[in-house]
Amino acid sequence: MHEGSITVRLPADLREIERLNRLIRQFGELHEVPSRALYAVNLALDEVVTNIVRHGFEDPKDQEVIAQVIAKPTEVITEVSDSGRAFDPLAIPPPNLDAPLAERTLGGLGIHLVRSLMDGVDYRRADGKNVLTMRKRIR
């Protein structure tokens, strides 16, 4: 894997996520990020950005989300920041995976996937921004 990074600023619009995914895939292929790790990074990024666009802003017009992906020799670090309302996705309770079908609820699936796909997820609020940092080890 080759070291490098990419920063994508995208308008807070669900239609932009496909473009983000495409850019990250191209970056990953160029830097020879192993395909399993790249898949995980892409899906986690999709979930996080979708959540921000859907719930982060009073009015998403003219707002943006900044995503940075850094490829290092042993891990891929992904950082997502936005200036929306303070929101810690890690505070969402995990879904009850043991519940029978009738009692399974729709909430919390995305952030559960993010936690499961990544080896570490940290949230901080700094300078009026939400910053979520995700780490994926390369094995």
Binding site: L101, R104, L109, L113
Partner: protein
């Protein structure tokens, strides 16, 4: 995403392809739930050509399975790619939904047309 519909006896087979994500989930939701509303009770979703699913897409499967259960219906998913199956396992859906390797298995699970010997 493309959605194809095919009826085999009592079983309705939906074939979906490419990406089931935030951009396409709403279309899939109205299609799948529309089938339940019009009375379909045995539904197979053939995921053999599905390359990518996110939580928006996963929610559609959960909604449909939850709606079918009290109606005595059943949703069966088949032919999931390993990377897609991994996501279903992570979210615990393999415990609450019938997920089988092939379309033949899905038809058998619904008591439909037997697979050729």
């Amino acid at each position: 995403m493309q959605i194809k519909e095919n009826k085999q006896g009592e079983v309705l087979i939906l074939t979906i392809s490419e990406h089931l994500d935030s951009a396409t989930a709403a279309v899939f939701e109205s299609r799948l739930l529309g089938l339940v509303d019009r009375g379909e009770r045995k539904i197979v979703v053939d995921c053999g050509s599905l390359e990518y699913v996110n939580s928006a897409g996963l929610k559609v499967f959960l909604l449909a399975a939850k709606r079918l259960e009290p109606l005595g219906g059943k949703l069966v998913l088949c032919a999931l790619a390993p990377s897609v199956l991994m996501i279903f396992e992570m979210i615990g859906f393999t415990r609450i939904m019938k997920i089988v390797p092939s379309l033949d298995d899905a038809l058998k699970a619904l008591g439909g047309e037997a697979a050729p010997a």
